[in-house]
Structure formats: C-alpha cells, structure tokens
C-alpha cells in the first residue's frame, strides 16, 4: 500500500528526539543544592529504550554545565545524550538550538520537565514540540518505543553517528578555508549497490523518515520493496557513505522502472544526514550514466510538495527538464546528451 506522508496526522510524525530537563526530572532534587541526587530507574530505562530504537536523547537544563556533565558521567548516562544545552537561557531557545544542530524539525521532538512553567513556555514558543510532564514520561514515551516498527542496526548506531557528526562540526570549526576545501579533507567514499533483502529494513526506514530530499514523498511497504529488489523490470539502488570520521550508513535509495525504451525514476531519496556533504546528486548521476550506457531514454516522476524543493533543484541542475504533468505528478526527462562529472571531494564506487 502506498501512502503519501501528508496523510499521517501531524502529531504522529516520527519522534526523533526527546529533550530532558535535569533537576526534578532526570534526577530527583536539585544538583546545586545536593550533589547526591540519583536517577529514577524508570527514567533511566526509558532513555535506554529510546536510544535502542534510534530515538535521540538530549538535555535542556538551567544548571552549572560542568557539574551537570560530571554528574551524568557518574550516573553512567552521559554517553546517551547528544547536543545537550546546559545554560541559563529559556528552554525554548535551547530546544530550537538542538533542532538546528541535529537538522531535525521541531515536530519530531518531545520535551520532558517537572515544571508546568517550563512546559508552558516551550509549548507557547514551539507548539509543535510534544511537552510531557515527568510523571507521564515513562508511560507516554513507552508508546513511542513500541510504535517504532523496526530496530535496524542503523537505528542502534544513530546516536554514535550524531556524535561522529559533532566531531566533524568541530573539525569544520577549526578549519580555515572554504567548505569545498573542508569536504576534501573528509575523504568521503560513496558506494552504490543493488538493494538486497538485508538492506530492506533500512530502505523502508528511509522512505518513512526522509522529507526534503525525496522526489515523491511516497512510502512503500517492505514486501513491495522486496519484490522490486528481485524484479528484472526494476532497479532498486542504495547508496552508502563513509568518511574519515565514521560511517554514515545507507543514506540513499532509488527505484527505477526499466521499461523497454524508457527508464523511469519512480523514487529518489537521500537522507538529510548528508545534506551538506555535496553528494545529493550522485545516485542520480549514476542512473543517468547507466541509462546512457543501455541506450534507453530516462524520465523521472516528481511530486512537488512544500519540503522537497531541493530535490527539484537536484533534478534540474543535473539536466532534467519538465516534459509533462498530470494531476500532481510532474514528468521530467534527461536528454542524456551530457555526462555528469562527480565532485572532486568524493570517491564514487559502483557495485551494480
């Protein structure tokens, strides 16, 4: 069954990050008054369960940063948190900062606090964030944990990947030169391969989670993806990316219907995780080169929505032009008269 993302209720949009308060929430009591505060075992458990489902945990706390971080180390919890904001600013500012750092939209966030004032402040400034009082945290968040349909290896590594990303950001901050020069220092390797059964959980996850770099916004059931991966009439491709800081995992997916004379790109998506790595068009370039090699025409179907303009840009700047439209589907075609050149800062390998 194919369902466009927009049909889903906004409030059931995927939960990707939970932001926790510290005093009175993560631990009972106030750290600055009593250094011996301990963590509620139910809270510890839910944090670990969220982490195992690939949902990130972060912190927004008005506290002494050094002391708070030390306490988290002591409680063996520090490793579970990314982008923590421990300062004296309004929590809505901190949450927006976390969202910006993680490149996630606010409607994928939840915020847990013991103080009605804080919950109200965040709700007023960021209405899309799910605000949860601490006494309801465990039971509410448990529902999200059980809603997660799969726990791929990628989900397990998600926190580690965000931590790799902060190392990259620090390296970027220390680097003197243009972004392109910086990208060269990453020694990126982009690998394209045909999707096999073992990849399909991740392929399915990508169709659910990716918005901005998604040509149609449609999702496919896992058994459909399996059929496509086995069919002679379709090409289901996946792309991997790694660099000197770590492995981004599988970050791109393309579904091509191989007609006798015309190949049609039915779906193209790239994870937002790699949005500023300059590799968004590489999967597209591969398909263009393949189509030219096989002497077929190449078209693509595109469903424009408010979020995927970047994909429109990727198609246009790779040489696709609009040749028709019907209902809300735009048909693009590439004349195959130009061969795309890969950027100099990434090594592209094809295993197809």
């Amino acid at each position: 069954m194919i369902l466009p993302n927009e049909i889903f209720n906004e409030r059931t949009s995927t939960l990707k990050c939970v932001v926790w308060d510290l005093d009175g929430t993560l631990w009972d009591g106030i750290l600055l008054e009593d250094a011996s505060v301990t963590v509620n075992p139910e809270i510890r458990e839910i944090i670990i369960q969220l982490d195992q489902c690939g949902i990130l945990n972060s912190i927004s706390s008005r506290n002494d940063e050094k002391l708070a971080l030390r306490k988290l180390e002591e409680l063996a919890l520090a490793e579970y948190f990314v982008c923590s904001q421990i300062n004296w600013n309004p929590k809505s500012d901190s949450i927006q900062q976390i969202a910006a750092n993680l490149n996630l939209s606010l409607n994928s966030f939840a915020f847990v606090d013991d103080q009605p004032f804080e919950l109200a402040e965040v709700t007023a400034a960021c209405p899309e964030v799910r605000c949860i009082p601490v006494r309801e945290a465990s039971s509410t968040l448990r529902r999200f944990v059980s809603k997660v349909e799969l726990t791929t290896e990628e989900a397990l590594r998600r926190r580690l990947q965000y931590q790799d990303e902060s190392k990259r950001e620090r390296a970027r901050g220390d680097f003197k030169g243009t972004n392109e020069d910086f990208l060269k220092t990453l020694r990126m390797e982009f690998t394209i391969s045909k999707a096999v059964a073992a990849d399909l959980d991740r392929a399915y996850e990508l169709t659910l989670r990716t918005n901005q770099l998604n040509s149609t916004g449609l999702t496919y059931a896992q058994d459909e993806l399996l059929n496509y991966s086995r069919s002679e009439e379709y090409l289901l491709l996946m792309a991997d990316l790694k660099d000197c800081f770590g492995d981004y995992g599988k970050i791109g997916l393309a579904l091509v219907a191989k007609g006798q004379e015309i190949w049609t790109i039915k779906l193209l998506l790239m994870s937002c995780r790699v949005i500023n790595r300059g590799v968004g068009s590489l999967l597209l370039h591969h398909i263009i080169t393949d189509a030219k090699h096989f002497g077929v025409r190449l078209q693509a179907e595109f469903l424009p929505n408010e979020r995927n303009r970047m994909m429109s840009v990727a198609f246009g700047l790779s040489g696709f032009k609009k040749v028709g439209s019907s209902k809300n589907i735009v048909t693009l075609e590439h004349l195959l008269d130009t061969a795309p050149t890969p950027p100099p800062y990434v090594k592209v390998t094809s295993m197809t």
Binding site: G278, S281, R309, M310, V313, K321, P340, P342, P344, Y345
Partner: protein, 85 residues
C-alpha cells in the same frame, strides 16, 4: 550586470574558491555547486534580486556559469519590472 555577478560571488565565497573560477567557467563540471548550495543560492537570488524562480527555470543552462546566471537574473528582473500588475 557586474554588480549581479559580484553579489553572487560574494554569496558563494565561503563555500567555494570563487576567485579561482572565471565568469564563463562551468560551475557544475567540477562539481563545485551541489544541491544544497544550489538551493541556498536560488533562495539568496530570489530574495536579493526580488524575483521568483519557478521549477521550470531550474535549468542547468541558466545556472551554468556566473555569466549565465547573471544574464538569467537580469532577464527575470526585467520581466518583473515590465509585467503589468
């Protein structure tokens, strides 16, 4: 026209070594401008020059070089000014 190119170069400066790219040189052939950068550039151009760039205009040829881009922007500005309200 010159000031249009100047503004584009200034916008791209933190991203690519724009000073090493000539006015008529292909911005895509060496993979200088990738999708995110292209989108940021398009948004910048739309707001800086007060023009609209619909999907139909997302054509490689119009963005191929600083010269091509400046020509395209100039035409768009002329269209905006000429269009009867």
């Amino acid at each position: 026209m010159h000031h249009i190119k100047g503004k584009i170069r200034e916008f791209l400066r933190p991203h690519i070594r724009e000073s090493e790219i000539k006015d008529d040189e292909d911005l895509f052939s060496n993979g200088h401008v990738h999708s995110l950068l292209a989108l940021s550039l398009i948004l910048f151009v739309e707001s800086e020059f007060k023009i609209d760039i619909p999907d139909e205009d997302l054509d490689m040829d119009k963005f191929r070089s600083f010269d091509a881009l400046a020509t395209f922007i100039q035409e768009k500005i002329a269209d905006e000014t000429a269009a009867p309200e």
